[in-house]
């Protein structure tokens, strides 16, 4: 099958590539772009381990074709830390609040939480739980994931307040 040329932005970097139309975004990211942070979990749109941000939406990249990302701005977990390596508030939160055990779900959790906090910077516990309801964790029981996201919300809000003053 003829390959299709796609151009998109991944973590702020302009990327052009040839893909088969049937190539899923998760496979394109992991195998062609060598961005292995987003994980393949269930492959059936349930678990959320493959979640990335695409044009301001959290998407399960196992259920999006790479050709559908033509022209899109995609952010993966690799794009979250600052260029100097300083962790994003969410990454720091997951470390500080023990928001992970095996870590398999963490990249998807963080990318989903990232969009959640963009849309709702001060979520209640219930809103956080509904917000991450498309991401499954089999280790933590979610308690510390919720705390980690709340930690990040507090830190980001404090930073914003400080910047405004």
């Amino acid at each position: 099958m003829a390959k299709t040329q796609i151009a998109l932005t991944i973590n702020g970097r302009q990327v052009e590539a040839l893909v088969e139309p049937r190539t899923l975004l998760i496979h394109f990211l992991r195998e062609q772009q060598m961005l292995t942070g987003a994980h393949i979990g269930c492959e059936t749109t349930h678990c959320g381990a493959c979640t990335v941000d695409m044009d301001g939406k959290s998407v399960k990249s196992c259920t999006v074709f790479a050709v559908q990302a033509e022209g899109a701005a995609v952010t993966t977990i690799e794009g979250m830390a600052a260029p100097d390596g300083t962790l994003h508030a969410l990454q720091e939160g997951f470390a500080e609040m023990h928001g992970l055990q095996c870590g398999f779900c963490t990249p998807g959790m963080i990318m989903r939480a990232h969009r959640l906090l963009q849309e709702n910077p001060d979520p209640s516990e219930a809103e956080i739980r509904m917000g991450i309801s498309g991401n499954i964790c089999r280790c933590t029981g979610y308690q510390n994931i919720v705390k980690a996201i709340r930690y990040a919300a507090d830190k980001m809000n404090a930073a914003q307040k400080e910047a405004a003053e």
Binding site: P21, K57, S133
Partner: protein
């Protein structure tokens, strides 16, 4: 899981999309949000040679008020429906239902048009559209036509949509101001389809039910418009006897499968429970 090979098309107009589907024939399928079709393609249960992606067609996007109706473009996502102030003000049951579909990631991409056009009896929007007496605008090589949601569904994954046609918009008559509404959905977990679900829209005048509409999800091969159950509420104060009668009539038209969500008898009973709860909440919300 990797789908079989296919050729990808991304037309920018409805005419172009319909033309492609006509030219490519039965080996072509339109792609909306993809969250029903792509999983089936990965399982190789939806073999196709051409995928016609509708995402670039601007005319299929957006929600607008037109006269006494909301016109919802087929490619409007569930997330866009949830974010719409217009929908919140005019027809909030659409948002109550959308919030119960799948999970946040799926709602960012899953579309209203795909949800209603696919013919999956487990989808939530078809019953909502039947309850609201919505109409579907279909476009094909022979031009455009309108089919009512209540006439659209023929069987599981069989609808009035003909080969080469796409659903371009859904027209929802705006319910009367002060109407009561509720969608009650029993499901095992977030992301699951309904074990049973019921949609109710009603209006009151002087404490008496003036109009009522009821539809059920995932309790048969198609969404079920429960006209007789609704008629049992009209002209009553929606007291227990009337609700009991509506519940019995609604349960009577269900024909659910016995599956992982429970035996058929249980699901029928849950249809009654969902209807009872939805009716109570709709009543509490109704003015008059």
């Amino acid at each position: 899981m990797i789908p079989g090979n296919f050729a990808y098309h991304a037309p920018t107009t409805v005419e172009e999309a319909v033309g492609l589907l006509a030219d490519l024939g039965e080996e072509a399928r339109p792609l909306a949000g993809g969250h029903s079709l792509i999983p089936m393609m990965k399982l190789r249960l939806a073999p196709l040679e051409h995928l016609v992606d509708l995402r670039r067609i601007a005319a299929l996007k957006g929600i607008r008020e037109e006269g006494a109706a909301l016109v919802i473009g087929a490619m409007t996502t569930q997330a866009e429906l949830l974010a719409s102030d217009l929908v919140a003000a005019r027809c909030p049951i659409l948002q109550e239902a959308a919030a119960l579909i799948a999970d946040p990631q799926v709602r960012y991409l899953g579309t209203v048009g795909g949800n209603v056009a696919n013919g999956d009896p487990a989808n939530d929007m078809p019953a909502i559209m039947q309850c609201l007496d919505a109409a579907y605008l279909l476009s094909g090589g022979g031009g455009a036509r309108i089919v009512k949601a209540r006439d659209f569904y023929e069987g599981a994954f069989f609808t009035k949509l003909q080969e080469g046609e796409i659903l371009t918009a859904v027209t929802v008559p705006i319910p009367a101001a002060g109407h009561g509404y509720a969608y009650e959905k029993l499901k095992r977990k977030i992301g699951d389809y309904a074990t049973a679900a019921a949609a109710v829209v009603l209006t009151l005048r002087g404490g008496t039910c003036e109009t009522a509409s009821i539809a059920l999800t995932n309790l048969g091969e198609t969404p079920l418009y429960a006209a007789e159950a609704a008629a049992a509420l009209v002209g009553t104060p929606v007291e227990k006897a009337a609700v009991d009668k509506a519940v019995a009539l609604a349960e009577g038209i269900t024909a659910p499968a016995s599956d992982g969500r429970g035996p058929a008898d249980y699901r029928t009973k849950m249809a009654g429970v969902m209807l009872r709860r939805a009716t109570q909440r709709a009543l509490a919300r109704a003015a008059g």
